[in-house]
Structures are given as structure tokens and as C-alpha cells.
Symmetry: C2
């Protein structure tokens, strides 16, 4: 039997369960004696190019086992946009040389929309030169905006945290006789999936009063009317908004940040829309108001990850490897929900071409536009995703996380 | 045996465990047949004055049992500053009339510095007219700034959450090759206890690089030098600051909020200092930067409460009732740490006079001023407080919280 090696990278924004996918790949790889080495590329493609590759087989099994409770991308992430190989093949040749030298036959990249573009380009290049290495994308993104998949690993843990913290905040802000209008800002540039997820807090009677997604044009007058009405009824209002809400002219309500306002892909960096709305509420309605931006915790709160999400992220990794070993390439692992009454996911493959650089927004029937809220159809969709909690190991009163030793290997001389 | 009733109120800012103190009082009251009724005053003193009093014995035992995992003040809170009774006794007479009518012999108010002032005034008034009702303050505050107590119930759960979320954020922000300077703002107007608590994340190797408390004058030049050095070493920097940091002239670094900047006690409402620092870092050092304000979640994240904190809050309530029943009045329950190698707390009483309106700041030997960080002495102090996790009941994938039915009683005709 010919032995060969595999390499894994992580790319794009981190999630609470992206390391669970890594664990799934590693533990599956251990089951196959033909897999000689399990390599990790630090910072995705960048690590392959810059000779930052580690030997994951040298890490202890205890470390690997802790990955499922460890947030962020433990291999390091990257936001590198590759040129088209027809225009400049230098990087691609370099990657191929490294893979050849290390006898790598399977490359798994765990990432979101942008990373799937990277996967596709590398896979296309390998095909074009008949280089025998199978490239599979393993999906992740808290944004849930990947097309061709029921939901993205990482999303469920984010909304489990968000719905919980919104429930807790709702109780907090409701305890005063004359409360405030609290406006909470959630991540989501073009799709309101995360913001919609806060509606799950209605299941324990602590839902936001108003929820605004980028999918529906934001009407400031309607907003102010609703806030006034609810405040006079309840003496406090909880509003949740996506950072990317836009007005009827399709303009972001806020392009406020005066610095660092583009990321490496040229996407506008949003944030601060809750603050702007708070100032409008205060000045127009003269109501006490505060703005809260949940910020980074919504993508890394692994202490409250969804067990369903962890398991699915794990299985996406595991199946990704099996597909690559079976000879598939240029595909992303996808999850399809069975049309049964009981929630069931089956794993499959989808062409990277139909995934890369595309965005799935929240369908309008998931939104209750008149009431500026979320419909039951969304609750039915999202509720199964947040079920279950992983047993966390606590050490010194804090969750225990994996820490890699990082045994470097030389990929070229 | 003469039967009598007790009444409980909650006051001031909520915590993750203020309802555990309520539970402690209620469950202890059930043990004493001489206690006829257990009343709850909604919104503290306000509920007594406005006839918003509920019968807590009519709530189910299951509801009472869930209190220890329920954030916020379930009875509602108040921020009411009482006049001196020598100047205006109207409210005091009203309270006395209500207590007389309901045969209330024990009044327990769960609250912080301002609430202890309320307790003291009522207790003094009752003494002055020889009215037989015992007033005991039950301590709570996430700020840990109450004097005469080893630490305040509520503090430990806040720092357990903060240290955890800071650990998770540290992993998140460290995953890029060229990261950002991340500046995290924590609550704390005059005392840096909460901010100091984030240093506990060093125990799992994910500590902030720099920590700034209001107890030490903030030197912007020193700050910028340290940020530069760390950024060039690690390619990312994690800074944690108290909202109340001040410069060498004792001026708040930020009095930025242009609206609603005073609370009901006339305290300046801070917040936004991280944003200001981020702008300075960006403009002066030209480094990529982001600001994060943890905000409300740090005081209501009961999903990650410290079991030690829950138990202590419970015991403060329980002992408060026992002290009141034994005839004590005008006192606050306090916690004294035994000078043994094993962490042990004993419960005692302290005069409200020595507690009300006073503030305990972080001792300077808990601060590593040269390194803008926290010393081992603080870690030794705080580590025992965050130990243990309560078993949370999850329903629909979200924590289950107590919900009172609220059976109103008439306190006057």
C-alpha cells in the first residue's frame, strides 16, 4: 500500500467550533494506516508558502481531544486572496512543490466563502497540471451565509451564545421601573442570520422587542414609532440590529468608522450602527438609551458552544477527509437536512464553483416584516441547531483549552 | 409563639447571583414556623411605597430553586435616594405604616453601597421611633467595592465570565499573522476590581498584555510605548481598561458620552474609553485597532456563574435572615476569609454606618504598576472565588430561568 500524507489549513474568521473540524480530520486520519503524516499549515495557505508547517501527529491525543472546546483557529488563520493561476502561477507552483516534497495527496481547508474561492483556485490549478492531490473545502462561518448547505458549522454556537446572552440582558434591563432603550448590535454584513438567532430567546420568554436584519430596508420613522410605543408600554425596549442594516436607498445606515474601514478583501468594516441609532433615539425621542455591541465574544464563546454544532463541525472534517481519500476534489463538504420530523443531517459534497464568493441571505419568510421581528419558520429552522451542551473541563475555575506544541517540519530545502 | 412576616427587596445594579441571596432568605424562612408570610417588595423601597408587594410563599418551590441560576433582580430594582428622615419623614412613616399593617418584623434589602445607605436610614428611623422591625443589608455588587467585606457576592461570577471571555477573545485575536491592537473596556467607575479579574485568564495562558485600573494614573505615552513594543513582538496586543481610568490630573480619560451622562445618583456614566484609546492608537501609531466594550453581559452572565459565588450569595441571604430574626438591625452581612491555607469564609455582621456610601479600591500591592498588569497577590486573592460551576438546566437549548407569577398583596386600604 502506498503511503501518503495529508495537510490541513484554517482560513477566514474564527468560530467556536472550527477546531472541532480539525479534530474530526485528525482523528479520522488516525484510522487509516495509509496516511503517513498529518500536517498542519499555519495561517492557511501562507504557512505552505512560508514553510510554517507542523506535524500534528506529534501532538498528544489529549491535546487533540481538547480541540472541540477550543475557540479560534488553532493553526492560525489567513485572509489571503490568490491571483488567478492563468495570470500568475508562482504561488500555485510553490504549493505544488511543497505538496510533492511532503507527498501530500489530500489538502483540506476549513473556511468560509473566501476560503472556498482559495480551494477552488488551487484545485483548478492541480487539475490543469494533472497533479494528483485532492482539495476539499470544509465549511465554517458564524455568518451562516454559505450557499448549498443547510447551515454552516460555527453558526449554531454563535446563536446559542447570542440567544443566551440576550435572554440574560433582557432580564437585566427589565429590572428598573424606568428602564432604557437598549440597542444591541450583532455581526452580519450582508446577511442577518446571527441577528435573527437572538429571536430564539423567545423560547424562554426573554425575546428582543424589535429585530432588524439587512435583508429588509430599515425605516427610521417606523423604528422610532415602534420604540416609542413599546417604551410607553413596558418602560424599556430591547432592540437588536445587524451591523449591516441598510435604508431604502440600499445604503448602509452607518459608514461611521473613520479608520481601518476596509478589510483585506476590500469589504467595508462595519460596526457602530447601534451607537448611531442610540443617538437618534435620544435626540429624537428624548428617551434614556444605551448601545451595546456584542463584538468578538459572539464568534469565540466556546464555553457555551452547541453540542450539535460541535458534532457537525467534527463530522464535516471527518467526512471531508474520507471524500478526499476517495478521490474527490474541487468540492466542499455540505450538510443536507433530512425531511423527517426528527432533525437529521446527512453529509454530502457540493461543487466549490457553486459556493465560492456567494452569499446566502435570510429568506423573507423567516422575517416578520410588519412587526420588525422573526417568524416561526426561522425558529423551526434554527432551534434544532442549538441543542445540547458539551461537557467542559474546568481548571482553576476556567475552561481548559488545547495548546499545540507545534513541531515544525521542513517543506523545502 | 407570635407569628410575624418578613419582607425582602432588591436594589441597585443587578448581578448574576443577587437572586441566589433572595433564594437563601426564602428557603431559610421556610424553616421557621414563626414566619407567617414572606413578602417581596417590587423595585425595592418603591414597591413598599406604591403598594407593589407580592406573596413569595405562593410561588412554587421549583421557581424558588431556579433563582440561583437567574440573573438580574427578579423582584425589580430601584435607584431611589431617600431624604434624611429629620428633614422629611413622609416616606419613612409610609414604610412603617405598611410594615405595621403587614406585621413585618424583618426587612432585608439586597444591594450595594447606595442600598446600604437606604438600609441605614430606615433602620435609624425605626430606632428613633422605637418601631420593632429589624433591618439587615445583604451585600451584592459586581464592582467588589463594598468596604468591610472580603469580597462582594456577584463579583466572582462577573470575573469568572470576564476571565473566560478574555481567554476566548485572546485566542480569537491571536490567530492572524498581522493582528490588531484590541482594547477591551470593563465596568468600574472608581475601582478596578472587575478589570483586574481579567488577569485570571493568565492561568490558562491567555492573559491580556496590558491592564489599566483607575487606581493608577494613566500615562498615555507609556501606554503607547508598551503597545508599540508588544505589537512588534507578537503582531497583536490585548489591552484591558477600566471605564474609569484617569490621568495624572485625576481627570477621567473620557467624559465622552454626550447624552445621559449622569445616573439617578448623579454619578457620571462612563463608557467609551476603549474607543477613544483605539482612535489614539490608530492615529498616533498607525496600527490596526479595534475597541470592544463588554457592557451588560459582565453583570448578568449567569450561564457561567461561579458556584462559590452562588453559594456565598445564598448564605449571605440565609444568614441575613437569621441575624434579623435574632434581633440585629442596622447591620450588613459580611464575609470574612479565614486565615487558613484552605479557602474558607465565615459570615458575620458589620455596622451599616461603616459601609454605606464608601468605596473600597484595589490595593496597590495587587497591581504591577511597572508592567501595567496585576500582581500575584491579586491572583491569590481572586482565584478561590471563581471555583466551581453550577449545573444549569437547559430547555430548548437555552438556560432555564425562574419566572415569578407575582401574587400581589394589599399593604394598605
Amino acid at each position: 500500500m502506498n503511503k501518503y500524507s495529508i495537510i490541513i489549513g484554517q482560513s477566514g474568521g474564527p468560530t467556536a467550533v472550527i477546531n472541532a473540524s480539525l479534530q474530526g480530520i485528525i482523528e479520522e486520519a488516525y484510522q487509516h494506516s495509509e496516511i503517513d503524516n498529518i500536517y498542519g499549515a499555519l495561517n492557511g495557505i501562507v504557512g505552505i508558502i512560508t514553510n510554517q508547517i507542523i506535524d500534528l501527529k506529534k501532538e498528544t491525543k489529549e491535546t487533540i481531544c481538547l480541540l472541540k472546546n477550543t475557540p479560534s483557529s488553532i493553526l492560525g488563520s489567513a485572509r489571503l486572496q490568490l491571483p488567478l493561476y492563468l495570470e500568475d502561477a508562482t504561488i500555485y507552483q510553490h504549493i505544488k512543490d511543497v505538496f510533492e516534497r511532503l507527498n501530500i495527496k489530500c489538502f483540506l481547508l476549513i473556511g468560509g466563502n473566501d476560503s472556498m474561492d482559495t480551494c477552488l483556485k488551487i484545485s483548478d490549478y492541480f487539475s490543469s497540471i494533472n497533479f494528483d492531490c485532492h482539495v476539499i473545502g470544509v465549511p465554517k462561518t458564524i455568518d451562516n451565509d454559505l450557499v448549498g448547505i443547510d447551515h454552516s458549522p460555527g453558526y449554531a454556537s454563535s446563536i446559542k451564545y447570542l440567544a443566551t446572552i440576550i435572554s440574560e440582558m433582557h432580564q437585566d434591563i427589565s429590572c428598573y421601573i424606568n428602564g432604557k432603550v437598549t440597542i444591541v448590535e450583532i455581526m452580519g454584513r450582508d446577511a442577518g442570520w446571527l441577528t435573527a438567532g437572538t429571536a430564539l430567546s423567545s423560547l424562554n420568554n426573554h425575546a428582543p422587542d424589535l429585530i432588524y436584519l439587512p435583508e429588509v430596508a430599515f425605516d427610521i420613522n417606523d423604528f422610532l414609532q415602534k420604540v416609542t410605543k413599546i417604551y410607553h408600554q413596558n418602560h424599556c425596549v430591547l432592540v437588536v440590529v445587524s451591523e449591516g442594516i441598510k435604508d431604502a436607498n440600499n445604503e448602509y445606515l452607518l459608514q461611521k468608522r473613520t479608520f481601518n474601514n476596509k478589510d483585506d478583501f476590500g469589504h467595508l468594516q462595519l460596526g457602530g450602527v447601534a451607537q448611531v441609532l442610540a443617538e437618534i433615539v435620544n435626540q429624537t425621542l428624548n428617551l434614556p438609551v444605551r448601545s451595546v455591541e456584542i463584538n468578538i465574544p459572539q464568534r469565540c464563546a466556546s464555553h457555551l458552544a452547541s453540542k450539535t454544532d460541535i458534532d457537525e463541525a467534527y463530522n464535516c472534517g471527518k467526512n471531508g477527509l474520507l471524500y478526499a481519500m476517495a478521490g474527490h476534489s474541487g468540492k466542499m463538504v455540505t450538510m443536507i437536512r433530512n425531511k423527517t420530523s426528527k432533525y437529521e443531517i446527512c453529509y454530502s459534497l457540493i461543487d466549490l464553483k457553486s459556493v465560492a464568493n456567494k452569499i446566502k441571505t435570510v429568506p423573507l419568510d423567516y422575517i416578520d416584516i410588519n412587526n420588525s421581528n422573526i417568524s416561526q419558520a426561522f425558529i423551526d429552522y434554527a432551534l434544532p441547531l442549538i441543542q445540547g451542551e458539551e461537557q467542559i473541563n474546568y481548571q482553576n475555575g476556567l475552561p481548559q483549552y488545547a495548546k499545540l506544541i507545534k513541531y515544525y517540519v521542513k517543506s523545502y530545502k
